[in-house]
Amino acid sequence: MKLLVCVKQTPDSTVRVKVAGDGRSIDASQITWAISPYDEYAVELALERKDADPSTTVAVVTVGPTRSRDALRQALAMGCDEAILVTGAAAESLDGLAVARALAKVVEEAKPALVLCGRQASDDDQGLVGQALAETLGWPHVSTITKFRPADAGPAGSVDGIDVWREVEGGHEVWRTSGPVVLTVQKSEKEPRYPSLPGIMKAKKKEIPEKDASSLGVDAGGAKLEIVKMEPPPARGGGKIVKDGDMKQTAAELVRLLREEAKIL
């Protein structure tokens, strides 16, 4: 079975992000980049399938600026078999829908049995690309999954469906899908693996073919969304310590403050 995982390179979760001088983008000068965490879960989930069935191949794709190549290299080092970089001037400023359209072209060419995406990217948190990709392809999709495996096959071993687990309040839902499907990933069974050193060396030997976004029929002008402004959250004010009087008076004062000042009671 061939799996395709779509990943986005986002600022590493340990980075403190600052709004850039233009007021509508982030200052990229001091940023360490990483695979977006949900996408990393998607990679891990795909690799867990490969662990269970070594005939599985896992390809990984990203649409983004050339620095995104590092994210692909990391995915290869984790154990993915191949990687595709969609980049070029047009790929610098795409919105989610345009990214999904570019990915759809890649999917049509690569013909995977299923596509995995993270449930949302950690930078803009839109949670759009997976669903938009399914829609563009005309494929079904199951969102926020935690596990999948080929449906129990007949004795001949022919698999014609995929069972998919979703976490719901108090338990799991299990879905069965037939044919190709897009899954968006909530988390993997295990924490995403660290790229091993031999894995890093194996990844080094792999070519990462580059596709120009414009050759996939997407152009930057096609973005339907424009970021007008970015604002950091307001600075947090200092806390207030209620300490005058005995316990009863303090409690009364606290309730008054919560009701009248904080207005949350």
């Binding site: 590092d70 290299r73 990391q74 080092a77 660290y194 790229p195 091993s196 050193l197 031999p198 894995g199 890093i200 060396m201 990844a203 080094k204």
Partner: protein, 393 residues
Amino acid sequence: MATTVAAEAKFDLTLTEEQQLVQRTAREWSRDRLLPIAAEIDEQGAVPRALVREMGQLGFMGIDVPERWGGAGLDMVSYVLVMEEVNRACASTGVVLGSHVSLATAPLARYGTDAQKERSLIRLAKGEWLGCFALSEPASGSDAASMRATARRDGEAWVLNGTKNFITNGAFADLTVVFAQADPEKRHKGIVAFAVEKGAPGFTVGKLEKKLGIRGSDTAQLHFTDVRVPDDQRLGAVGEGFAVALWTLDGGRIGIAAQAVGIARACLEDSLAYAKERHAFGQRIADFQAIQAKLADMATEIDAARLLVWRAASMRDRGERHSAAAATAKLFASDVAVRAARECVQIFGGYGYLQDYPAERHYRDAKITEIYEGTSEIMQLVIAKEMLGDASA
């Protein structure tokens, strides 16, 4: 000729893509898996075997061993990057790794025959076997060539007798690189190196030492009583043993220097975090210039130490003479670590003296870097002899 700038200056310090990925794996693994239990490792006096297995799976245990022999096929620079990260989290685990990689796999990779590599190096590189290096003896440390352990030729084998002291990983090692004197009249040119496997009759583990720091790493006495070692377990030529030891220690010292940088970085990072939290006289202690000066000095010295470590590592990678560069890196970095640990305890104040905070552990761990794999005095000797053009160093 005799200049402190031992190498042609190469100012491009950019790490390759692989080196950056290696650093990231080591950093994240050490932060997630090691740091949370570092205090427990120290207190219980043992690095869990499961952690050593994990280091094997990640490829740390065979980092610079060629892929053909089960390693990751990386270089010395990658090794020092990993050493810094692992030691930043836990110096005990760092020395388990360091002794295995630079003192056991390295001499096997360089001096071993294909048959020896097939048998031992592959297992060591994958972390299935743990390695150790047995040079020091109760009566000889710095003056290792005056060892008393003997090797007597007997047909197709050798018979080893003697006691080795202070052997890191000695209690659990599957393979011991050991040195013995075969021809005392030839002094250091009579020494022979062997790769002896665990369980050889007459080869036993003696007492384990109780130590100031790196308490999670075991330090054992090893006894050899009429141990028969087949000649095909000899490492290098007869009489080449001391050269094997010196070449091995040149690499090991770069590793220990990287360990020192890791410990010093732990001191700085823990100090920074504490100085921002702790208040005195109505402000954060980080707002006192006296504290800022300590932090700035620590950062500066750590940077300088790291550059010396990277230089020595890349000289070894390029196959250049690097004994003095390795000694320089170790001399300086170990001094930096000890000073950083002292300042770290000082910044933590009374809490720095308690086992509840990491400063106390760093203070105990840092000191060893000035002692093992050649004391600071011996490092000075190596550096001075190189400058003075005395090839006997």
